[in-house]
């Protein structure tokens, strides 16, 4: 089985700042990590490989230093790594990103399953997984929380919902986005780290992808950020304490006050 995992390098949520002038993320000096949901997608891919055989290829679109997350992924069990990198890709929104990723995946030597995290913690759109499936013209399921069975023809899994889960089945090739409940990502192994260090990383440029320049990067991105701001804190907050019975009573009093 050929598994592709799309991963993104994101600023470590612990020290993210916004540039007040440009309203974009100030990435300078901020540590970068693999998007945490993508780590779960990678683990899901590696587990499938271990169970059913096959290969895991990780793919990231980003600047040259995004190579770090690819090496990290190989240390955690991926076999091959592809960096999709070109100045022309800069400033891409999810529309241009899915176009570019789809071009890169189509350039691969076939695939059975594409895995993505449910969303990236910097943009938080959750659009890239579904958008990419649309571009590739394959079916997709979001919020996968457990894979029950997977053959080269079909995958059976649980999709997390607000109040439980659905059991779903989908023909392959297909795309999944995963939630963190799906697994516990592994710690990189010694052999993985040694392999990652030596690994030749393949780079795909815009020319390699034979991409339409008008669909790439800022140019290919219909999204425009009009304004970025921190929402004002609204309302008063107070802590209710005491026994459960006391807390419930207090809560009712407060609600009554609000309603009257």
């Amino acid at each position: 089985m050929k598994i592709v995992v799309c991963i993104k390098q994101v600023p470590d949520a612990k020290d993210v700042r916004l540039d007040p002038k440009t309203n974009t993320l100030a990435r300078e000096g901020v540590a970068s990590i693999m998007n945490p949901y993508d780590r779960h997608a990678l683990e899901a891919g590696v587990c499938l490989k271990e169970q059913y055989g096959g290969t895991v290829t990780v793919l990231t679109m980003g600047p040259p230093q995004a190579e770090e997350v690819l090496r990290d992924a190989v240390a955690c069990g991926a076999d091959e790594a592809i960096l999709v990198s070109d100045r022309a890709f800069a400033g891409a929104d999810t529309w241009a990103t899915t176009y570019t990723l789809a071009k890169a995946i189509e350039k691969l030597d076939g695939y059975d399953l594409v895995l993505c995290g449910k969303q990236a913690i910097d943009g938080d759109t959750a659009q890239v997984g579904p958008g990419l499936a649309q571009r590739l013209n394959i079916p997709y399921i979001t919020y996968a929380r457990k894979i029950n069975e997977c053959t080269r023809e079909v995958i059976r899994l649980e999709r997390m919902t607000d109040d439980g889960y659905d059991e779903v089945e989908m023909d392959l090739p297909a795309l999944l986005t995963v939630v963190k409940e799906i697994n516990e990502p592994r710690i990189p192994s010694l052999k993985g780290k040694m392999k990652a260090k030596k690994l030749q990383i393949t780079t795909y440029t815009a020319a390699d992808l034979k991409a339409d320049p008008n669909c790439l990067g800022l140019k290919g991105s219909p999204t425009q950020v009009a304004r970025v701001f921190s929402p004002e804190m609204r309302g008063d907050r107070s802590m209710i304490t005491g026994t459960v019975a006391e807390q419930v009573e207090q809560l009712f009093e407060k609600l009554e006050d609000c309603l009257s």
């Binding site: 592994r186 710690i187 990189p188 192994s189 010694l190 052999k191 993985g192 780290k193 040694m194 260090k197």
Partner: protein, 385 residues
């Protein structure tokens, strides 16, 4: 201090550190409290390839030796000596096979150790044979194509949790020091059972049990190396593994120092952080000196042992004594710095103090190590004069 590790040695440290920080430290208090064996953590250690550190590449291992396992054990010891002991005891248990086993034996057992599908244990001690191994009473008698074992081993780490046991038994009482042999017993062998799990002061995540052999029959080819070489294998095995115990001391000492310094900076008495009192500062300074001196000695002893397998004893005993006496002292001092809070289970230093004690006892007490060093000195100076 910088020990100028190679890139690969640093990778070993990094992998072991991540396991320690993300898995061992968050779980250690609960494992200790519940006296629970760390199955999940050992699984993660196996997945990270660290069970193969000391196993040659041809059996799927990394191909390192004493120094590589010392690097990993220092990290694990920083997290929890109970968990680390469970890992270390598996190495101890398989060393006789690694050192003296036949090619078939190595082919059979080493890959299972590397993959983590099986764990090993080392069984020497008996009720009447502690420091004095010559007192063992377990016997092995050849009966046709099988050895028949009878006797009871005591305080065996990984007892009941391991699948591969290296067991020392008397094969010819009249031969004295050449009267014992080493055997591999598997958990499923007939006539082999376990006593109850011991309740201990420290390293409570590790399992310590009695092994009971009642007409336990094993195939003839489970004899490790040659008959009569049991005690010699015991010496070599322990010489090779003791720097690992020393490394646990370094890791534990470092952890205790870290806790003490962090606490001393934030605890305010008489209007000042207690680290500003010279009495506290000097205690921390001594702890830091002793941890670093131990690390330097242990690293170098491990490298010496890897390079000079013919003269392991003195280096092995010296680093074990120094680093484990240090660990006991530094852990006790850390409790003193945290004082009442340190005495409470809410903080990790009381567990470190409980755990440190075993390091001075197992794999040969520190008194016995001093005997060894003294005897080696005597030999050296006789030779040189």
């Amino acid at each position: 201090m910088d020990y100028f590790l190679t890139e690969e040695q640093q990778m070993i440290v990094d992998v072991a550190r991540q396991i320690t920080d993300e898995l061992i430290i968050p779980q250690r208090a609960e494992l200790d409290e519940k006296e629970e064996f760390p199955h999940e953590i050992l699984g993660a250690i196996a997945q990270a390839d660290l069970f193969g550190l000391y196993v040659p590449e041809k059996y799927g291992g990394y191909g390192g030796g004493c120094f590589e396992i010392v690097l990993a054990l220092e990290q694990f010891g920083r997290g929890c000596v109970g968990v680390a002991t469970s890992y270390a005891a598996s190495a101890l248990g398989i060393y006789p096979v690694l050192l003296s086993g036949s090619e078939e034996m190595k082919d059979k057992y080493l890959p299972e150790i590397v993959s983590g599908t099986k764990r090993a244990a080392f069984a020497l001690t008996e009720a009447n044979a502690g420091s004095d191994a010559s007192g063992i009473q377990t016997t092995a008698v050849l009966d046709g194509d099988e050895w028949v074992l009878n006797g009871t081993k005591q305080w065996i780490t990984n007892g009941g949790e391991a699948q591969i046991y290296t067991v020392v038994a008397i094969t010819d009482k009249s031969k004295g020091a050449r009267g014992a042999s080493m055997f591999v017993v598997e958990d499923t062998d007939p006539g082999f059972s376990y006593g109850p799990k011991e309740k201990k002061l420290g390293i409570r995540a590790s399992a310590t049990r009695e092994l009971v052999f009642k007409d336990c029959r094993i195939p003839k080819d489970r004899l490790v190396g040659r008959k009569g070489m049991g005690f010699i294998m015991v010496m070599k095995t322990l010489d090779l593994s003791r720097p690992g115990i020393a490394a646990l001391g370094v890791g534990l000492g470092q952890a205790a120092l870290d806790e003490a310094v962090v606490y001393a900076k934030q605890r305010v008495q008489f209007g000042r952080p207690i680290i500003s009192f010279q009495a506290v500062q000097h205690m921390l300074a001594d702890m830091a000196i002793e941890v670093e001196a131990s690390r330097a000695l242990v690293y170098n002893a491990a490298k010496h042992i890897a390079a000079h397998p013919e003269s392991m004893s003195k280096a092995s005993s010296m680093c074990k004594v120094f680093a484990t006496d240090m660990a006991m002292k530094v852990a006790t001092d850390a409790v003193q710095v945290l004082a009442g809070y340190g005495y409470m289970r809410e903080y990790p230093v009381e567990k470190m103090m409980r755990d440190a004690k075993i390091l001075q006892i197992y794999e040969g007490t520190n008194q016995i190590q001093r005997n060894v060093i003294g005897q080696e000195l005597n030999k050296e100076y006789t030779r040189n004069s």
